[in-house]
Symmetry: C2
Subunit: 530 residues, 2 copies
Amino acid sequence: MAQSTDPSDPPPALHPTLEPSTRRMIAGDHSRLVASLPLPTPPSSSSSSSSKDRSRPSQHHFSTESKQFTGAALKKLATPSPDSVILPLGAGRPSPELFPWDCTSIKPSPSAEKNRFVLKDAVDYDLSSVLDYGYAEGSPQLLRFMREHVKIFHSPPYADWTTCLSSGSTSALEIALRIFCNRGDAVLTEHHTYPGFKEVAGLMGLAMHGVAMDTEGIRPDSLRTMLQNWDKKLHRTERPSVLYTIPSGQNPTGVTQTHKRKQEIYEVAEQFDLIIIEDDPYYFIQLETSTAATAPPSRDNVANGHIPTVSSSAETYFTKNLIPSYLSLDKSGRVVRLDSASKILAPGLRIGWVTANESVIDKFASYHEVCTAFPSGPSQLMVFNQLCENWGAHGFVNWLASLSMRYQKRRDILLQACQDHLPQDICTWDIPTRGMFVWIRVDLSSHPDLVSGTELTPLESSNIDGRIMTRAFENGVQVTNGSLFEAGTPFPSQNDQRAVFFRLTFAAATDKELVSGVQLFAKAVQDEFM
Amino acid sequence: MAQSTDPSDPPPALHPTLEPSTRRMIAGDHSRLVASLPLPTPPSSSSSSSSKDRSRPSQHHFSTESKQFTGAALKKLATPSPDSVILPLGAGRPSPELFPWDCTSIKPSPSAEKNRFVLKDAVDYDLSSVLDYGYAEGSPQLLRFMREHVKIFHSPPYADWTTCLSSGSTSALEIALRIFCNRGDAVLTEHHTYPGFKEVAGLMGLAMHGVAMDTEGIRPDSLRTMLQNWDKKLHRTERPSVLYTIPSGQNPTGVTQTHKRKQEIYEVAEQFDLIIIEDDPYYFIQLETSTAATAPPSRDNVANGHIPTVSSSAETYFTKNLIPSYLSLDKSGRVVRLDSASKILAPGLRIGWVTANESVIDKFASYHEVCTAFPSGPSQLMVFNQLCENWGAHGFVNWLASLSMRYQKRRDILLQACQDHLPQDICTWDIPTRGMFVWIRVDLSSHPDLVSGTELTPLESSNIDGRIMTRAFENGVQVTNGSLFEAGTPFPSQNDQRAVFFRLTFAAATDKELVSGVQLFAKAVQDEFM
């Protein structure tokens, strides 16, 4: 199928290659493009004087790295509009009702009592200390908690591991790649992967190689074969030494790697001396919680930011059910584990934590010193207060268990809606056991445009999934099309060209919106096949 | 003078090349190394099991960029100790009593009233919105204020300028260099410059070329000569196209560029098509405020975080006295202006703002999307609340004027102490009119080790200034030695090898500490000349 100029093609705003100037224009025009939650439209430049000349072109000044770079595709898709009534099954943005802060007064009040947190062996941790310059590794108070947390849940099997804070996992991922990769290097990842990884790898001039996946995630046989047969001449670069993987509730496929699968992959990493970047923001969002405790918490409590505690048996079940991380298998110290507060506390904090061997964490701290310096003091204090003062290690686990129950309930609603409304001769999916994504495979065998037996080119697939996404959007639901997640050249070729994919999320929508959203998406799929 | 192993040599901890592992060890050992304010010692890794093996070496995995990189020299110098009684004339860290927040309760209290800020044409700006994902450019509410602020103070003379927030100026500087520079490029800066710039330029493999300075800052004749005579073969790279400059209260020299000087430099930039990175965190710290309003505000009020307002005549004087920025001269859109909240609000916020032409700001936003994503939501809300809700544009200026008065008073105390205690046949200095630094030149003509008429090698200078700094530290005061600030090859050679330099700051110490600190430093200088 040739590229058409049919008006039903996705509008340019939906293309990942959208120019920033266009994006700005669209945002200013109150386009219908939306995120899962409405945000206000950014103000335009305050230069109102039309009598002034424009600047001289800057393009010739841009570096090799920055010249072609226009930012993150997924974020462009999520350009919000305050006017939107679009159902948010697209962006994996948690609902604010699941942030564990109901209310915070952040104001300069001379009369209010000074809010001090005192830790044994530490100076006071109060507002004046967090407003001051801090440590590149993060505040000692919060670090102490995080290192204990990492020890409890991952107990890395080598001596010199350590943890530092990051200004969010996105920042940590960029730094990890700058630490380990040179321009032109190849990096390995799942065949479908997080677009933020694609963007930063693209920025840094890295060649992505997607490894085949199955229902347990990235395939060790494919990984080994790829590395064994690496042809330096053919690939124009050395054999890759970095594997980026999302082991739990993978973004976008929702797949979770089993313990055995991680062991097999780790073995390949040992054989070929790979660094494993374990990006694991969904690790604690377990969608197979104890049935004894799945009674949904009352809506009122949740809306107040107080998700009820779970029973101790449910908490034990939750803890026992955690799959060992790569970090916990890491006898050689080759894993760089990225944890994030974004999905389990709140993304606006820009707080994450990184665990690896000391020489790697030293590099992280050094990079911090010349980039963000250290994570926001007020954000660190909020996390410290909630985790250390309010919850404690035990309360944090209870929070994670109850949060997981909430997500499990939402997942079940979404899956039931898929069952009820999607055409099952065309659409298939697996049940995700972690995270916030359901990955829908749409079989194109019966697509009217396709001559039986022919293969689709990637461009044609991309046209079809873009068209379905646009139609869904016009119907009033935002979903994310699979093409956005494809990582470079997949290996081995997946032989699945007669299908397209969609990522649906149950993170952001209400129960009712989840059902309506699937109905609107189902209609878009059916219309494509008419 | 040969390099000696005399025990009076600076301990390794004071060397900018200190290894992170050493730094960690020192921090753990409660070394006497201090910052201007005590912070708690970071916890060591929580791996306590000595039965585990160490990780396998990671060094062979490090990229060209990261391999030799160990972070920021100045931050290492500032490694703090809770046990310290060292007077803080070293690090330019503002006193917490000058942060405009006295008290903030950041705690999850279900009973407290929801704190909402409503802006016309904007959705509510409350905690749940700042805890959510935000814009790469910064929140629209705060941006609106910042763009107005930039318009009022700089009124850039071209049409398509705009402003975005940054996660602090350190981050903005790194991104600016990544936008404009390729590995191996040359960049221009003042002969003595901010070590953070040296570090990030070093990380990125840029060759720094220091331009000669006089009492008005970087010299246009030297800059022009350097560019005119640029020898690609000799310098092994193209003529530089980026100038990094700190125009107000320069770090470390305290020098402020006049309006005329900036015009001359801008003319050279036009001639040679330079990008000017204007790093201007001290722009609003004016140390020549109206004499009619210099009565120091009462200590009590200040300690409560409420610096008294200045009179309207003092405010007018303050505003009129501002020297036009490079941005305000920028008819071609070649200036990238970095503003920071760190010196005028609080460094722990990690908030800054960047102004440049739209194509450059688009690049910044794109970089944000793959690094910090956006500045901390709680930090943005705190700044928004103070600037927009509490102060307004007018109140902000009043704050800046009264803050300047406070710093002027401190500067005067430090200068008087220098006058009273430093040996004036050896030490000279100029009076800084902006910022927080006094730059002391120590003439070595009468130094006992020097044979009359000989020139010092940079290594010998560095030994002497390191020795004086160590002695001062042993006496109980932290100052920063000039060698730390030297930028690559200076041009033309400054012919000032018979002197060493020290940066003293009046940012952090109390009035009394300023006097004692200078006395202790004076003793260290005198002892070196015995």
